[in-house]
């Protein structure tokens, strides 16, 4: 039996949809604003933390060890180590898992962990051809050489490469993430209409969740011009399947079915949690929200990465002798509607469960009311590094005392991550 790990508290920024221009906050700005509000309400000082661990899939070149940047900017002082983890879409969940490991082995008592990403600030890169040309240009010494180099220049070299597209393309099988979702739609026969219905439902659930006060986890952002960003701004309260049905597919053009409307949004945001050992809880007289009782990572075919949650959470269920509906609340990160629906279909598919999960029958049907009850990334957005931490925090907020929840996420490159939490 491992030592218990407590979630003391958590906070996140609103998720701000990318408007095709660099957003108002750098990734570290986002984490700082969530982190300082979170730390302010604790009975201990930032310098009492043992470490800060931050997941970030695309830290900008000037803050690659963004975890350390965060620790220093939060006023933790020189002596609190800060580091950064990267597991693509589960970077924030990886940060939590790394904190758990350090707490359980006794290295740390009190850890600030989570994730952040400012995808709107993903860089534009020079093309390989431009880089080649530039390196030649820098090597020229004489006027003749310079003229020769200029003659070799082509305007096409200037076409930038979108960093975000590179980041969202599988480097081994070469598929864009949206294309892996098309694979799942094809494999399980998920229709475009079903995806759009799921997506509209996500928006409606967020709208209802807000009205019911289920988004207390949000700390408003304030920019240096004095503007307030209080809510996730990608949510469409008037979304309907019919409206979504009008969008054109973006990945497998023109006859695919994955659109911008039934995919998660490209977004900036940060989510942070405070994790503590039993000793720290006693020392500071903390009132934890709950515990993380188990976690699991799994690998699968990168071309079907969207089924990662099935592979990561099934072993947890088995270890704890739980069926799908014995868990009181589920968060499956909504990278794509086809991908979440694919996970549900996989659990219902006897062949898949037998062949891929080694079960002797299908897992069954997950009660949809337990799943993403307050909506998900299709409406809120998916600031890659932050999402894994957000769903762990949110599932905990949805539970009653003594209840169990699972937060699970698919990961580009063919991985899945899952965490089992229990409300105190």
């Amino acid at each position: 039996m491992n030592a218990p790990v407590y979630i003391v508290d958590g906070a996140r920024t609103p998720f701000l949809k990318s408007k095709n221009t660099p957003g108002p906050f750098a990734a570290s700005d986002l984490a700082v604003q969530a982190g300082r509000a979170l730390l302010l309400r604790q009975p201990f000082a930032p310098s009492d933390l043992d470490e800060v661990i931050l997941g970030c899939a695309s830290p900008s070149p000037d803050e690659v060890n963004i975890g350390r940047v965060l620790a220093l900017r939060l006023g933790c002082g020189d002596k609190v180590p800060g580091w950064t983890v990267m597991r693509n879409c589960a970077s924030g969940m990886q940060a939590l898992d790394s904190a758990i490991a350090n707490i359980q082995c006794g290295r740390s008592q009190l850890v600030l962990a989570g994730g952040t990403d400012a995808l709107s600030r993903a860089p534009l890169l020079f093309s390989d051809a431009m880089v080649q040309w530039l390196s030649g240009w820098y090597a020229t010494k004489t006027v003749g050489q310079k003229l020769a180099a200029l003659r070799g220049f082509r305007l096409g070299f200037l076409a930038p490469v979108l960093g975000i597209v590179k980041g969202l393309t599988d480097p081994v099988v070469g598929l864009m993430m949206g294309q892996t979702a098309e694979n799942l739609a094809w494999k399980f026969g998920i229709s475009r209409r079903t995806m759009d219905e799921f997506s509209a439902e996500s928006h409606l659930r967020v709208t209802a969740g807000r009205a019911a006060g289920h988004y207390g986890e949000i700390v408003p952002l304030v920019d240096s011009k004095g503007n307030v960003y209080a809510e996730d701004d990608g949510v469409r309260t008037d979304s309907t399947p019919d409206k979504l049905g009008k969008l054109r597919p973006v990945f497998d053009k023109p006859y695919g079915s994955v659109t911008a409307g039934n995919s998660s949004q490209i977004t900036d945001g940060a989510a942070l949690l405070l994790l503590a050992s039993e000793e720290a809880v006693k020392r500071w007289n903390l009132k934890p929200l709950g515990q993380i009782t188990d976690s699991e990572w799994a690998g699968l075919d990168p071309a079907q990465m969207g089924l990662g949650p099935v592979h990561a959470s099934t072993p947890i269920l088995q270890r704890h002798g739980l069926g799908l509906n014995d868990v009181d609340a589920w968060e499956i990160n909504e990278a794509f509607a086809a991908q979440v629906l694919g996970c549900l279909a996989a659990w219902e598919d006897e062949t898949y469960c037998k062949e891929q999960l080694g079960l002797d029958k299908a897992m069954g049907t997950l009660d949809r009311s337990k799943l993403n009850a307050d909506g998900g990334a299709i409406a809120l957005g998916h600031p890659v590094g932050a999402s894994g931490a957000r769903i762990v925090l949110h599932v905990l907020h949805r539970l009653q005392s003594g209840q169990k929840g699972i937060a699970t996420i698919c990961i580009g490159g063919g991985l899945g991550g899952a965490m089992l939490v229990e409300k105190s």
Partner: protein
């Protein structure tokens, strides 16, 4: 050789290092004995010339803070004034003429005579640190840089820049010093010594100056001087502040040698303006000393109320390194305050990362968690007795037992708002002036029975954020607002009598005020002036012109119309009529009388502090030395 203040060491390369570490002082000042020893040091170098001579400081605080102002204040004759100027002028000329190379290694503050010492060296290396600041601030004391500054600075940097530096007294940081050619190198501390050594032994001639600079220091001098006179005229009238005009003339006519014109030194150095400005300088030190009565340094400030005052207090404190939580029921107001802070930091903090740190330290706190952590809590909410009572009681319950609890109230009695507190003795007033970032004075208000330790901590906090604390007793309007009231009231009575607002304002501008009383009323807000007037006037009728405007809701700058029509933050003023002689005197008399009455009533401890408070709190013409000093001088003449 036996030196008290200097240390002269020769290293293996034959370089002589002259380290100034003034005995018995925390900062280096160039008192007479320090200069005598400097001459001895040069004698020693004459006897055995070094490969080069480097001046540096042995103090952590900085390089050299300038001449000894106390010696200056003691000057009692034209001869002694001349002798003081000659002492430095001759010695620095001697230094400038030595045959071996010389270098000033400037780290930290380098003011006045320190900058002139550096200018007499062949090379200057400025250490690249935020604390490194070079300046010739003599003009702020009503005098001039007479130890060679007026001669050598325009020879080293572009003459217009040199004049600007001498006429404004402005600080130049290490990077700027290098950019403008004042310093030859700007080096980080880690390579400062190596840079000094390398440059000294390089044999490198000083960079030749652009032709234009040489022309401006030669044939074009008079043109440059007349431009500079025009610039100065916008800021200071010659009858109030003769020194800047004297600096320009001395450079243009005498190549910076103040001794060339015998009557010149005395007319400036022993002028009433210089005497009063030096007095103000010492008064400023007296105010600063109030901050030293407690050694407790605050780390966290919590401010409740993110309006103009609260928001700006928070912004200034975060800029000075404190962690600040800013609480308000409206997050939008907190955000607006952060927007204003960000603009302030753009102006005041050059380094982008330091600017970001300041903003990181300014934390929106709508739920008020910061109160429990803070070392100082200031309430700056709207002036409502019940609201403040509830708030203070709630804050007291949350706060650390030894934290300072303060109110920024200007119109309510501290004794009244403390009634709901468990320990009312704990409450102090920390009263700021608008705009907080600009106004140097903060009144630290003592209510009846207040805890002296809390007052001392409050004053220390005020110093920590680089403001000047003035202890005052709790009374309506404290010092500053109480003396402004009758002054502005009298100004409005003049308007009631038919004198135009422009004329009233011009009378006081000519007197030396930074802003006329009517424009001041418009800026403060006529509703606020009306309410304050009622509180302070003890039943007297408010001026008709004020009551009418308040009745029409013409409240001044904020509504775009008051006594003046305001566009883009500026009043449209007609030309003033001829100012009747005696008008300024009529206007300033109620201010002087009230100041004296407040001293007599013990609201402020003594007349000198009252003068300091009125100068730093209202901008009252500093060259007069303050209202009471002015009244004394008037009586005498």
């Amino acid at each position: 050789m036996n030196l008290n203040h200097w240390k002269l060491e020769r290293d293996a390369d034959g370089i002589a290092w002259a380290t100034l570490d003034k005995a018995g002082a925390s900062t280096n000042i160039l008192s007479a004995d320090v200069l005598v020893e400097l001459a001895q040091l040069l004698d020693e170098c004459d006897r055995e010339p070094p490969k080069g001579l480097i001046f540096r400081s042995g103090k952590a605080a900085g390089f050299i803070a300038g001449a000894d102002i106390e010696e200056f204040a003691r000057l009692d004759s034209a001869e002694s004034a001349r002798a003081l100027v000659a002492r430095g002028w001759d010695l620095y000329n001697r230094l400038a003429a030595v045959r071996y190379p010389t270098l000033a290694l400037v780290r930290g503050h380098c003011m006045g005579g320190g900058t002139e010492l550096s200018l007499a060296c062949r090379y200057i290396v400025a250490v690249d640190e935020p604390s490194t600041k070079m300046a010739l601030p003599e003009v702020m004391l009503g005098i001039f840089p007479g130890w060679g500054g007026m001669k050598r600075l325009p020879e080293r940097v572009s003459p217009p820049e040199a004049l600007d530096m001498m006429l404004s007294g402005r600080n130049i940081d290490a990077r700027k010093a290098k950019r403008m050619g004042l310093a030859d190198e700007c080096a980080p501390p880690r390579v400062a010594d190596a840079t000094a050594r390398g440059l000294l032994l390089s044999g490198r001639p000083r960079k030749s100056r652009p032709l234009l600079h040489r022309l401006m220091n030669g044939p074009l001098k008079f043109f440059v001087a007349s431009q500079a006179r025009k610039q100065v005229a916008k800021r200071a009238r010659p009858e109030h502040y003769p020194a800047p005009y004297a600096i320009i003339d001395c450079w243009a006519k005498h190549n910076g040698n103040a001794l060339a014109s015998p009557e010149f030194v005395d007319s400036i150095v022993r002028s009433a303006t210089a005497k009063n400005l030096v007095r103000v300088f010492f008064l400023q030190d007296r105010l600063k000393a109030f901050g030293k009565e407690s050694a407790v340094a605050a780390r966290h400030l919590h401010v409740v109320g993110a309006g103009v005052m609260g928001g700006d207090i928070a912004a200034v404190a975060a800029m000075r390194g404190l962690t600040v939580t800013l609480q308000d029921q409206s997050l939008e107001r907190v955000a607006a305050a952060i927007g204003r802070a960000s603009k302030l930091y753009e102006r005041r903090i050059k380094d982008k990362l330091l600017r970001r740190s300041a903003l990181d330290r300014l934390i929106p706190d709508p739920e008020g968690h910061g109160a429990a952590r803070a070392d100082v809590v200031i309430e700056a909410i709207f002036e409502d007795l019940e609201a403040k009572r509830d708030l203070l009681a709630a804050l007291e319950a949350k706060m650390k037992p030894d934290a300072v609890l303060a109110s920024n109230t200007s119109s309510l009695r501290l004794e009244d708002i403390a009634t709901t507190m468990k320990n009312p003795a704990r409450l102090v007033g920390i009263h700021f002036f608008n705009p907080v970032a600009m106004m140097p004075l903060v009144e630290v208000v003592e209510a009846k029975g207040a805890d002296p330790e809390m007052l001392a901590r409050a004053a220390a906090f005020v110093r920590q954020i680089d403001k000047l604390p003035l202890p005052v007793k709790s009374a309506p309007g404290f010092l500053v607002n109480a003396v402004l009231g009758p002054y502005m009231l009298e100004a409005m009575r003049c308007v009631d009598e038919g004198i135009t607002a422009e004329t009233v304002d011009e009378a006081m501008l000519a007197f030396g005020m930074p802003m006329g009383p009517i424009e001041l009323a418009d800026t403060v807000g006529l509703d606020i002036a009306f309410a304050a007037g009622k509180q302070l006037a003890e039943g007297a009728e408010p001026p008709r012109c004020l009551a009418e405007r308040v009745g029409r809701n013409d409240l001044g700058k904020k509504t775009g119309k008051g006594f003046y029509v305001w566009t883009n933050g500026k009043p449209a003023k007609a030309t003033a009529e001829r100012v009747e002689p005696g008008l300024a005197n009529r206007l300033v008399t109620p201010l002087i009388d009230r100041t004296r009455a407040l001293v007599d009533a013990g609201i402020v401890a003594d007349a000198d502090l009252a003068d300091a408070g009125v100068i730093f709190g209202t901008g009252f013409a500093p060259f007069t030395g303050g209202p009471l000093q002015y009244a004394r001088d008037q009586k005498r003449s």
